[in-house]
């Protein structure tokens, strides 16, 4: 069963948990990527690299306006047109306008989370344009009419057999399960699209402020095609995605490749420093850079600035045991996994729009361990939970329950009496069901739906202690 990203949270999770293919596909792929990351980070001074990248990104963030201005100045000097977009509507309108002005009917796209965030494909299609995703994974899910379910591996939730079905159905591919044959077919189709496209759109892995350079990282070379073949090239980048210098860019590139796929270097790192100059044999005639805020400055103001250090490598998704169970669509937003559970609510106009996500984690800390910029994701998730409580967005019975618990636990007498009652009650009850408790009333039925519960001890530790003290004549 496919996960319906628009369904309520509980339904999405149940759909994901009830899809046996999903877990196999996701856990296999995330395991592979995690092992590759560990090998690759282990082959260099991985810890040192993490520290360096974090320091660099922190420096950017504390001088954010300055570097943004420097980037704008240098992009403009290079002949790019810079647009500022505060939110989704602005960003959509800007890109649509560029497409219409240039009469571009066909848009080819390189994989980009920022354009997912602004639902760009949908907006352009509504304006009558055809949009083709050119990253193989994105191409597959576009054919299947699904959003990406992973930051770097958008089709991670599908097994090879399922992808073959999509190709047979949508591309009339003769039945095959050979990945090379399927890839060749996609490649041939995409080649035609590249030639015909009037506009290319990509995101940006990082922009270099000192040179005004846009860098996109791909393994298929489609990024270079998107940025160089069509007459017009549009970049949509989150305003946090900048680095000060070329050296910093390569530092981040190292951390990104090693953490994302475990590669020492991706196959392509395509850099664009402006449109075709006089005498150049190729390249786009126009380069537009859309600097997208869409909640980023609000996120900083809300106290979640640490999440702006994220370089979108997806390592935290791969490491996350929750993500492995439910995949990406169950998170219901553009971003998923631990980082998605933080930035979906933190970027949103109201945190409570994604009020389930900060709770969709056991806070095990595997994400923090994997993060190349050492973002303290568990701490941010705890802060979001606290903000939700402050905003009154938590369920009333829960609030009442926690307040009662805190009152009970504030008194030794009440604590001991409660313990005694729980002991007598749970032992009587457990005795009736063969030793363990198999059913409890709501909300505790959440526990007994899947697990047994052992009754409280007949005699508490403190009772043992007091008895022993007495025997020893201490009291």
């Amino acid at each position: 069963m496919q996960v319906d990203i628009h369904a309520p949270y509980k339904d999405r999770v149940n759909q994901a948990l009830n899809d046996p293919n999903l877990r196999v596909a996701v856990s296999k792929a995330t395991d592979r990527m995690t092992n590759a990351r560990l090998d690759s980070m282990g082959a260099v001074e991985g810890q040192q690299l993490r520290t360096q990248v974090r320091k660099m990104k922190e420096h950017v963030l504390s001088n954010w306006p300055d570097y943004l201005e420097q980037l704008e100045t240098n992009l403009t000097r290079n002949g790019c047109t810079v647009h500022w977009a505060a939110g989704i509507d602005d960003a959509q309108a800007i890109v649509k306008e560029i497409a219409l002005q240039n009469s571009a009917n066909l848009v080819v796209k390189a994989k980009s989370m920022a354009t997912e965030e602004i639902h760009l494909n949908h907006a352009l299609e509504e304006a009558g344009l055809r949009v083709v995703e050119t990253d193989l994974g994105e191409y597959i899910i576009q054919l299947a009419d699904e959003p990406p379910s992973h930051i770097v591996a958008p089709v991670i939730h599908k097994r090879l057999e399922e992808i073959a079905e999509v190709f047979q159905e949508k591309l009339d591919m003769p039945p095959t399960r050979e990945p090379t044959k399927m890839t060749s077919l996609a490649r041939a189709r995409l080649r035609e699209e590249f030639f015909a496209a009037g506009m290319g759109v990509s995101g940006c892995n990082f922009a270099i402020a000192e040179t005004g350079t846009i860098c996109i990282v791909t393994n298929e070379g489609n990024g270079r095609m998107v940025s160089s073949m069509p007459r017009v090239y549009v970049v949509v980048m989150g305003i946090e995605k900048l680095v000060p210098t070329v050296e910093d860019a390569f530092l981040q590139l190292q951390a990104l490749c090693r953490s994302a796929t475990g590669q020492q270097l991706t196959v392509y790192c395509s850099m664009t420093s402006g449109p075709r100059q006089q005498g150049d044999v190729d390249g786009p005639e126009q380069v537009h850079v859309v600097l997208l805020d869409n909640g980023r400055s609000r996120m900083l103001a809300r106290g979640y600035g640490e999440a702006l250090l994220c370089i979108r490598c997806g390592a935290c998704l791969n490491a996350c045991p929750v993500y492995q169970e439910i995949g990406g669509h169950a998170y219901g937003g553009t971003y998923n996994g631990p980082i998605g559970a933080v930035i979906s609510p933190a970027l949103a106009p109201e945190i409570a729009q994604f009020k389930e996500l900060p709770h969709a984690t056991s806070l095990c800390g595997a994400c923090r361990e994997a993060c190349p910029v050492k973002i303290d994701l568990p701490r941010l998730l705890l802060d979001l939970r606290s903000d939700l409580v402050q905003e009154g967005a938590s369920p009333k019975p829960e609030a009442w329950g926690i307040k009662s618990y805190a009152s009970l636990m504030s008194s030794r007498r009440m604590y001991e009496n409660l313990g005694k009652m729980a002991s007598i009650g749970s032992n009587l009850y457990a005795g009736m069901s063969g030793g363990n408790i198999k059913f409890m009333p709501p909300p505790l039925n959440g526990w007994t739906a899947y697990r047994d519960f052992a009754p409280f001890a007949p005699k508490s530790f403190r009772e043992w202690w007091r008895q022993r003290d007495k025997l020893r004549g201490r009291s």
Partner: protein, 281 residues
């Protein structure tokens, strides 16, 4: 967290037994207490202690968490500050994390600077049990004996927040007769996560079943761990799924509470989920 170094071997400690051990698994508290006493450390049990407030903190209720944190500090901090005890020891990585890692920031948040400092001072002498036994007392062998095959599950707070991993493994290696085998995907969370187990019970249980499958694959008769909360979750799953293997708190193993053998090799696993054993049996 900066830990105090002791010029002299600590003579007396306060036992922060944790509410779950107190009410659900007193055997773990008794084992912890006796392990310390066997090693010439006198144990003080402040009877005013209840819960450290972690459930409230975890669920986002900072005011309620602070209420219980203040109470905790008022019980334990004076014992340390007056020199009555040298350290606070807890048979739980998770509760030790709450008091030693999270008290300080929540009092910073409420601008109760004095309490934040007090929490920080207390944190420097707060230890998880195995951490105290190995790092402070220098014990590698508790003299325990147990025949059987066990595997070790590193509980998340203990492993990732406190950075304690070598210590329990060292102590387990010292148990005579015990074969310690690797647990596949050992450092994957068991899925407990406090209220997460209720709020997101489906996901939590799926993670628990993955842990149970890995435990079964390891071939071990027992999963040893340092937190009774994760133990409750893992055993709840194992019992429901009809898997014979059980999770045990390390203190009970180190203090010979489980008898002489985990399970004789000839004895088949009690497989029916319909007739589960009480975990304490």
């Amino acid at each position: 967290m900066h830990k105090a170094s002791f010029e002299q071997r600590p003579k007396r400690v306060a036992l922060f037994v944790t509410c779950m051990v107190d009410m659900l698994y007193p055997g773990v508290g008794i084992a912890a207490c006796e392990l310390l006493e066997k090693n010439d450390v006198e144990v003080v049990f402040p009877e005013e202690q209840t819960c450290c407030g972690q459930p409230a903190f975890n669920a986002g209720y900072r005011d309620e968490a602070r209420k219980l944190a203040r109470r905790f500090l008022s019980i334990f901090a004076p014992l340390v500050e007056s020199g009555e005890v040298d350290a606070v020891v807890a048979p739980s990585g998770s509760c030790a994390t709450m008091t030693s890692h999270f008290f300080e920031p929540i009092f910073q948040e409420s601008q109760e600077t004095e309490l934040a400092h007090q929490a920080e001072r207390l944190a420097s002498v707060t230890f998880e049990l195995t951490e105290f036994l190995v790092d402070v007392l220098g014990i590698v062998d508790t003299g325990a004996q147990l025949q059987g095959k066990a595997t070790y599950h590193p509980c998340c707070h203990l492993y990732r927040e406190l950075g304690v991993d070598r210590q329990p493994r060292t102590l387990l290696d010292g148990v005579e007769g015990l074969e310690v085998v690797d647990l596949p995907h050992a450092d994957d969370c068991c899925g407990f996560g406090g209220l997460f187990a209720i709020k997101n019970s489906g996901i939590s249980a799926a993670m628990g079943r993955a842990k149970a499958t890995n435990a079964e694959q390891s071939g071990a008769d027992a999963i040893v761990l340092c937190d009774v909360s994760c133990m409750t979750h893992i055993n709840g799953i194992l019992s429901r799924e009809g898997i014979a293997c059980r999770a045990h708190h390390i203190a009970e193993i180190l203090n010979n509470h489980l008898g002489s053998t985990l399970r004789p090799p000839s004895q088949p696993a009690p497989a029916q989920a319909d007739h589960p054993r009480r975990w304490g049996d």
